[in-house]
Symmetry: C2
Subunit: 336 residues, 2 copies
């Protein structure tokens, strides 16, 4: 475990360092100042880490995949900047979002430029399979957009099934994680079977990650989590928990959940003072517990993670593979 | 000339056809319906035409470059969708803009997806130089974003020099045209000198095209032009004409132009009824004529076009080269 932490830290530093140096320009200032702001805002750096480890797990050197790793982190940041505009989110990672600190026009343009910069960085990858890498990456961007479109559509849709939800998060969250592990494997020169295995690993891990995110919104420690607990509930966001609880609930419980769903993503107008509105989050959490959906989410996350790890079993044993098992463990047990 | 028109039409049909077929999906509908709407909205298709002709002018077959041609048209449409949000433009090509017909969130996402689809289309290009093609394309997207950032910055800047302006349009308009002719030459297998020549041709032509656009806003026939004449004036847009006229003007003329510049891009609040506000556009046009900036714009456009054509002279004579001369002529004499 000491080794895991140490190596993780080394790789994270490598990523942060390259990320800080891939944008050198400072003009036009309305573009590059916010761009540096967003790229230096921290984050878990899960996707780039996954690229480096996947590359190494098939016999490559992590550094071969560094540009690709940074590229995927940049594109991830693009999705955050644009999603935050669409969601009217005021803060991210404890700081004002770009469209709040600057304005919407700036945020639109910064997001656009991030996509281009991601491709620029990706193209620095030295690999005979570079065309394939760019292709995989591009399909990732396409699906992330589709996922976000579904997510916005679901806000005003009354009947969102669990399948709809899984399709959406598969695209919005899972795809980019799968792209990360797949690109790592391709750049590392993995066999077709190894590439397939790592892609499947990423897809399952990405899904578990998103359900965990939904879960943390309800059960996390507010300080550690870095955002207000219950935000998804007050916003009527159709998470795994809400969808599954609504399906299971009966009577007054179902009525309460329906009122949240009908709320169309706008903050709940309870007409009650703040304290009572907080009670509402507690009420919903209690319903989630009572109908076993918290437990069900945990079961799904564990199942996906176990299945993800199963794909790793076909890889040759290596330090990087051990790191990947540790990585799954880390995501499974994260509190933020 | 009959041959020019016929071939132009054939190539335009080829482009339109591929453009109509490169998006087959229809869900999520909030993404793909507006996407098809924007791609089927017509347009002059200048950039893709330039790719096909440049490819042929260095000895390639136009069809080799068709995917790249469509890719650049898609990315051009991305810039239109996002610029229209930023400029609060209500109509484009005689139809409501995406953010008006749908909403801003949809328009942001549609623009994002267009970038990804452009790359997807570009990657279909069969060329040993595909990595270089993607690189050139990516630098184009980067510079277009930079150009747009400068353009928005200039709106609230009091002193914008002619050099600032030329830098801005070089990025916002010129770059993508230069990228088009350069990519065409690369895909067609041109020599280094041929590629350089066609790139320079595109850059000069792109600049002439933008100054012509500024000019048409003042002198075009409203019906043919497809938008309201004098829009740049009432919006206080820092065009070649306004910047150069302001530099040259004296006394009351300078004062009037300053009031337009200070207006920061918001529609002129003259406090006068519509008819008199129209007089204002006429006043400014008269100032432009009196200080010779209309003539100066025409001189610049002609100079750039002549210089652009000079680069074509080094290519081997061919039908495609003749088409490119004709293409310059067409842009030089366009009324819309």
């Amino acid at each position: 475990m000491a080794h895991f932490k140490e190596k993780y830290h080394t790789y994270k530093t490598l990523i942060e360092h390259r990320l800080a140096h891939c944008v050198t320009k400072s003009e036009p200032v309305s573009l590059y100042a916010p761009l540096k702001y967003i790229l230096s805002g921290g984050g878990k750096r899960i996707r780039p880490m996954l690229i480096l480890l996947s590359c190494e797990a098939v016999g490559g050197k992590a550094r071969q995949a560094l540009h690709a790793a940074v590229a995927i982190e940049i594109v991830h940041n693009f999705t955050l900047v644009h999603d935050d505009i669409m969601d009217h989110a005021a803060s991210r990672r404890g700081r004002p979002t770009v469209h709040i600190k600057w304005d919407e026009n700036v945020a639109i343009l910064v997001g656009d430029e991030l996509v281009a910069l991601a491709y620029r960085e990706l193209l620095k990858t030295q690999s005979p399979a570079i065309a394939r890498v760019v292709e995989i990456f591009t399909e990732g961007v396409v699906e992330v957009c589709e996922g976000q479109a579904y997510d916005k559509e679901f806000e005003t849709q009354k009947n969102v099934s669990l399948n709809d939800y899984l399709l959406m998060i598969g695209k919005k969250t899972g795809k980019l994680v799968a792209v990360a592990s797949e690109i790592g494997a391709v750049v590392g020169g993995g066999t077709a079977a190894e590439i397939r295995a790592l892609k499947s690993y990423g897809a399952l891990l990405g899904r578990a990650f998103q359900i965990q995110d939904d879960l943390l919104d309800v059960v996390a420690d507010e300080k550690e989590f870095g955002k207000t607990i219950g935000g998804d509930i007050t916003e009527g966001k159709k998470t795994f928990l809400l969808i599954e609880a609504y399906r299971r609930a009966r009577g007054a419980d179902k009525k309460l959940l329906r009122s949240i769903i009908m709320n169309h993503g706008a903050p709940l107008k309870t007409g009650k003072p703040q304290a009572q509105s907080t009670v509402c989050v507690a009420d919903v959490r209690e319903i989630y517990h009572r109908y076993g959906v918290i437990e069900e989410a945990r079961r799904l996350i564990t199942r996906d993670t176990v299945n993800a790890n199963r794909h790793l079993n076909m890889l040759k044993p290596s330090d990087a593979r051990a790191m990947l098992y540790g990585f799954s463990e880390l995501l499974l047990n994260r509190n933020y």
